[in-house]
């Protein structure tokens, strides 16, 4: 995957967590993801379309997600509540929206977020697009950004 698509997500998650949760994020070594199993139990998912296509997932263990959402919202929500899912969705929305703003000369739209909660769930991305996982560490636990995006065929031809 083109590194120009990775760096914006690193900057974005650090900015979002610093601004909205007052929490630093340590970025660990990115790796190509193998298989379709979600890294953790809670996944916030956003689709990208336009000059860049694919999906972005923010993946958390339930316990970490619960602590992060409490920091984000200033109150605690049960993991199975609509408010919890809404907050996870807003976090992935901010991380993805902020990252795509850093893509150079790309017109990209993002979808409304979806949230999946459950042990061992699977997220299948396009077969022609490798998924890069960026492991992250916070004071409240680990999480991961999974990025499966590529330049669209139309954008490639135009370049």
């Amino acid at each position: 995957m083109d590194p120009q698509f990775i760096t914006p997500f690193i900057k974005s998650i650090q900015n979002v967590f610093s601004t909205m949760l007052h929490m630093p994020v340590t970025i660990n070594q990115p790796a190509i993801k193998q298989g379709n199993s979600a890294t953790y139990d809670v996944s916030g998912i956003i689709g990208m379309s336009g000059d860049v296509v694919g999906s972005v997932v923010l993946s958390f263990p339930k316990e970490t997600a619960s602590k992060l959402i409490t920091a984000f919202c200033g109150m605690e929500f049960p993991v199975d509540s609509p408010d919890f899912a809404d907050a996870v969705g807003e976090l992935v929305n901010m991380v993805s929206g902020s990252a795509k703003g850093m893509f150079v000369d790309k017109d990209v739209s993002i979808s409304c977020p979806s949230v999946v909660i459950g042990t061992g769930h699977q997220i299948t991305s396009r077969s022609d697009t490798p998924c890069v996982t960026i492991p992250c560490t916070t004071s409240q636990g680990d999480l991961a950004i999974e990025i499966a995006i590529r330049e669209s065929n139309a954008a490639s031809k135009a370049a």
């Binding site: 900015n15 979002v16 601004t19 909205m20 984000f72 919202c73 200033g74 609509p82 408010d83 809404d86 907050a87 969705g89 807003e90 929305n93 901010m94 993805s96 929206g97 902020s98 795509k100 703003g101 017109d107 739209s109 993002i110 979808s111 409304c112």
Partner: protein, 122 residues
């Protein structure tokens, strides 16, 4: 001062509502998308609207264009993750008065609200 918050995320509406309450604004109505907002704007008659861009059913930019067909005056602040210059220009052309990019600090949102209302009052 009546304020309409339009965002599909309840979390984001709560965060914005908290900032508005701290600024002393308590007459706040909420809408979960552009369609919902259009159904409320006539009866509520807001003095200020904070509007997200990406929402289901009707997005924020479409909502702003609808509003501006009949109301050129009520200040509208777009509060969105859309940070590209082209998006900001599109929003201004549609009739948005000010623009806040998510993520934001309470201070930056407060500042934009205050400057928008001050400009309107001048």
């Amino acid at each position: 001062m009546k304020i309409l918050l339009v965002d599909d995320s309840k979390t984001m509406r709560s965060i914005q509502k908290s900032v508005l309450t701290q600024l002393g604004y308590t007459e706040i109505e909420e809408a979960c998308d552009g369609q919902d907002a259009l159904s409320k704007v006539g009866a509520f008659e807001p003095d200020l609207m904070l509007v997200d861009w990406n929402m289901p059913n009707m997005d924020g930019i479409t909502f702003v264009k609808h509003v501006r067909q009949t109301d050129k005056n009520t200040p509208i602040i777009m509060v969105t993750t859309e940070s590209e210059k082209s998006r900001v220009i599109e929003a201004i052309k549609a009739g948005v008065n000010n623009y806040v990019v998510k993520p934001f600090t309470p201070e930056s949102l407060s500042q934009r609200i205050t400057e928008t209302l001050t400009k309107k009052a001048a």
